[in-house]
Symmetry: C2
DNA sequence: CAGGGTAACTTTTGATCAAGAGAAGCCGGT
DNA sequence: ACCGGCTTCTCTTGATCAAAAGTTACCCTG
């Protein structure tokens, strides 16, 4: 089993063998956890942060009127690292959307690691930039795109992000969001999601059945969404590095 | 003149005299810059990052259809640090919304500083968490709040963030956003912004004239917005530290 | 038989279009 | 430096329209 979190970091900065080994070390004891379990609750003191090694999770907020907005999707390789207020208190809830493999890394361990290997600190910063970019793209999505464009953009984003940590990823991806979840990601109602999903299906762009999403026409989907993956693109790698990445991912 | 960037970092982590001095060192050469000037353009290689010492700036994206969405407001003390793709290319544009005092810090300098003083690295991480939280709250704002609530929330956020770096801040704040800008922050049209602004005025909650915003009834505003500042709250400080902060801010 | 998905219909919110009033900067002239 | 007068942003308001939300009920499948 390869480690998608490590892969993320290697996309973000060049790591040597020692660094790689040290990161692996921290991911030793993953635990399996079911769908709809909390990884963090509002007000928790975060001595450690969860890292998703497989499965999907979501960070969200609930408003007074009961409305929910998902503010982030945690896909394999994603960490809940830049997600607490400066006083170390979790400000949002995180829930698994599917069965997941999770490892918890203490902030103390991470700090020690960064002190020893500055490159890891740089990789985390870079990872933070990526997260920040995704978040900003969500603001744009919800703020300025209509329902169909939002759906298309989300699908493109998910597909691209998954492809970064799983080379075997084809046009068929595991997509465990229910229509209710989608509504809470895109700031729409479930009924509306359904309609727009229909539209994408009718136009022959996707099929989505029992959490399997197949993309038939990525080009058109990107076209609709105005999707440009450069905001997620990994740093340019040397040939040797790319080779090593392939070995690790195998 | 105190340094709001330093203040931000001190809210985020406990810094000693040496760290403080070293940060001050990096902010030595601020430059004045007018309104509507670019601090970063799409595709720029970011060898350094701008820090806003006074004035307002905004990060935004433009869509194919010409629509603009502001994804972040840079207030005094804010840094454009977690805002490039992993390959170091700026992915969004940043423009000043008012005359600003800006200092550019090279990534190389920052890395050296962090290597020497891990506490600064921790402060930057913590600052990143705050940014991330603001971004997430914007997703919620645009995704699940109606026009009036969004306006109210933005005002509460701006007021609170400014109060963190300027102790003299009262209920009257400098608020240079035009109604067009507001529209692009909140994902609405300028016309609609105007109407909702009228409503807030008529209800006696605010006055806004020539870039001066006065908040008459913060409580009700927060009520409307469902605003809870804990996501922005600084880490708890010791009494001695708070004293020192006051001296620095004076 | 419950949860998730679909359909039809009504209502609301916010967008669009258009036109005019203020305000603020810019210019040349004294 | 001071002053009209011009241009260009901003802001304001009304009328009309479309997108998406609310509501309710039905269906399908595990």
């Amino acid at each position: 089993m390869f480690n998608p979190f490590l892969l993320r970091l290697m996309h973000a900065a060049e790591l040597g063998d020692q660094e790689i080994q040290a990161v692996e070390e921290l991911c030793r004891q993953p635990r399996d956890i079911g769908a709809k379990k909390y990884l963090s609750r509002d007000g928790d003191e975060m001595h450690s942060f969860p890292v998703v090694l497989s499965g999907w999770a979501a960070r969200y907020q609930i408003l007074r009127n009961g409305a929910r907005q998902i503010t982030r999707l945690l896909l394999p390789g994603d960490a809940f690292y830049f997600d607490c207020s400066p006083n170390g208190i979790a400000i949002e809830e995180v829930i698994t959307l599917s069965p997941c493999k999770i490892v918890n890394i203490t902030h103390a361990d991470m700090r020690r690691l960064i002190d020893r290997f500055p490159a890891v600190g740089e990789a985390m910063r870079s990872y933070g930039c990526m997260e920040n970019a995704v978040l900003a793209s969500w603001v744009v999505n919800v703020g300025r795109r209509d329902a169909l464009e939002r759906m298309a953009h989300l699908i493109c984003e998910a597909h691209y992000r998954l492809s970064l940590v799983d080379a075997h990823q084809g046009q068929q991806i595991y997509f465990p969001l229910t229509q209710d979840d989608l509504a809470d990601v895109l700031g729409l109602t479930p009924v509306h999601i359904n309609r727009k999903l229909q539209q994408l299906r009718q136009e022959g762009l996707i099929t989505l059945r029992s959490k399997q999403l197949t993309i038939h026409d990525l080009r058109t989907l990107q076209q609709i969404a105005g999707f440009d993956p450069s905001y997620l693109a990994p740093r340019v790698q040397t040939l040797r590095e790319r080779e090593r990445l392939r070995v690790i991912a195998a």
